[in-house]
């Protein structure tokens, strides 16, 4: 295959764009896609201070790298969840990226100061991933609020978002469908959250990381037992191979229709109450958490509720970050 622009040997084929690109033109394409997402969903500008949540995986490290390349003002945020070797290695990779970009990395020593995620999940009788979700959302917001960042960016990609949309539709979780968008505006004291890689597939992101020699952790988090996300991704990728462009169309058309207001009323009759996975702490409220004082949907925020299950009366878990 030849590069669509310069006719050199291509390094990647992009059937959904009816294209193939050499290294140089692929990297141009990648940049344009990120800029386009930032612009078309009004994510942020060069005046904003952006907190980039990094985990050591390809998506978040690529996100930090490209935003830095595009001259945005970025700081990394890493939360040490105490997941054994996995956490140690992922933290090191985030530190390496900070060094190579010459940017600051903030580290929240969650596992040292409070408890490893697994112990907290056991104490709170929740799944590892939902506990992890509460903790991460809490610190993304806390650090941003306290240290003056106005935007929180995560590395979710087109495959993640399309798989989530498919999952929500398969279960008719219309409340979630209604909320799914690559920008969640600042409200009720929660900072604006953005997903600048939402126009790019995992393969494109992995290619960007490879071509830029970004070292990332390929291993999965050892606590990820739930394989539905993989199942939906595979289903979408099978369809995509037979019918290029479908995955992109499925997700992006959803966003465009939503932006135009064509999906209004979608969840009017939503029968099922959401469990808070997409909305996080932002449903209801606004209140101030009685324990930590941060914005909350109830008297006590989810974070303080679950950390309250740890029997550590001599230690206030929320004062360490």
């Amino acid at each position: 295959m030849k590069c669509r622009i310069c006719r050199e040997t291509a390094v990647i084929a992009l059937p959904r764009h009816n294209s193939a690109f050499c290294k140089e033109h692929f990297l141009d394409f990648f940049k344009r896609q990120v800029q386009r997402a930032i612009r078309e969903f009004r994510m942020f500008s060069r005046k904003d201070r952006i907190l980039v949540c990094v985990s050591g995986g390809k998506d978040s490290l690529t996100l930090w790298h490209i935003l830095h390349e595009l001259n945005y003002d970025t700081t990394g945020l890493y939360i040490d969840l105490g997941i054994g070797e996995y956490s140690k290695r992922s933290r090191r990779l985030c530190e390496d990226m900070a060094k190579s970009l010459g940017r600051e990395l903030k580290v929240v020593e969650f596992s040292k100061a409070v408890a490893p995620i697994k112990d907290l999940a056991r104490a709170a009788k929740r799944t590892d991933c939902s506990t992890c979700g509460v903790v991460k959302r809490y610190y993304f917001n806390k650090v941003a609020l306290e240290e003056g960042y106005n935007v929180v960016a995560t590395g979710h990609n087109l495959d993640d978002e399309a798989a989530r949309l498919l999952g929500n539709l398969l279960r008719w979780q219309l409340e979630f469908v209604q909320k799914q968008y690559p920008v969640l505006e600042e409200e009720k004291g929660l900072k604006r959250k953005v997903k600048p890689l939402c126009r790019l597939t995992e393969q494109e992101i992995a290619a960007y990381a490879f071509l830029n020699r970004i070292t990332y952790l390929r291993d999965e988090c050892p606590m990820s037992h739930d394989s539905t996300s993989l199942l939906y991704k595979e289903a979408l990728n099978r369809i995509e191979l037979q019918s290029p462009g479908t995955k992109h169309f499925f997700y992006l058309q959803f966003l465009y229709r939503k932006r135009k207001g064509n999906l209004k009323g979608l969840s009017e009759n939503a029968a099922v109450e959401p469990d808070g996975a997409e909305t996080g702490d932002s449903k209801g409220g606004p209140f101030q958490c009685r324990v930590c004082g941060l914005p909350s949907s109830g008297q006590i925020c989810s974070f303080c509720k679950i950390t309250g299950y740890l029997d550590k009366s001599d230690q206030t878990p929320y004062e360490h970050a």
């Binding site: 295959m1 979700g133 590395g155 992995a206 490879f210 739930d226 996300s229 996975a277 996080g280």
Partner: protein, 71 residues
């Protein structure tokens, strides 16, 4: 023989020359779920591999949970 390192880390040998796409099909690996790497080069699936080549198929799909903040 060409060496192919599969997404799960196992290695197989294949007689060259052969189109990578055909190999992926036979292994039931979806083209859009791997990077095809030879040394420091990235290859498209229409490329041929020759005996003595070592090709690595790097998985690109990450699982995790559908939790919104899984990164």
């Amino acid at each position: 023989m060409a060496k192919i390192i599969l997404p799960d880390g196992k290695t197989i040998e294949v007689k060259g020359p052969r189109e990578i796409r055909a190999i992926l099909r036979r292994l039931n690996i979806l083209e859009n779920t791997v990077l095809i790497v030879r040394g420091d080069e990235l290859l498209t699936p229409d490329r041929m591999i020759e005996d003595d080549d070592t090709i690595e198929l790097i998985p690109v799909i990450s699982g995790g949970s559908l939790e919104v903040s899984h990164l």
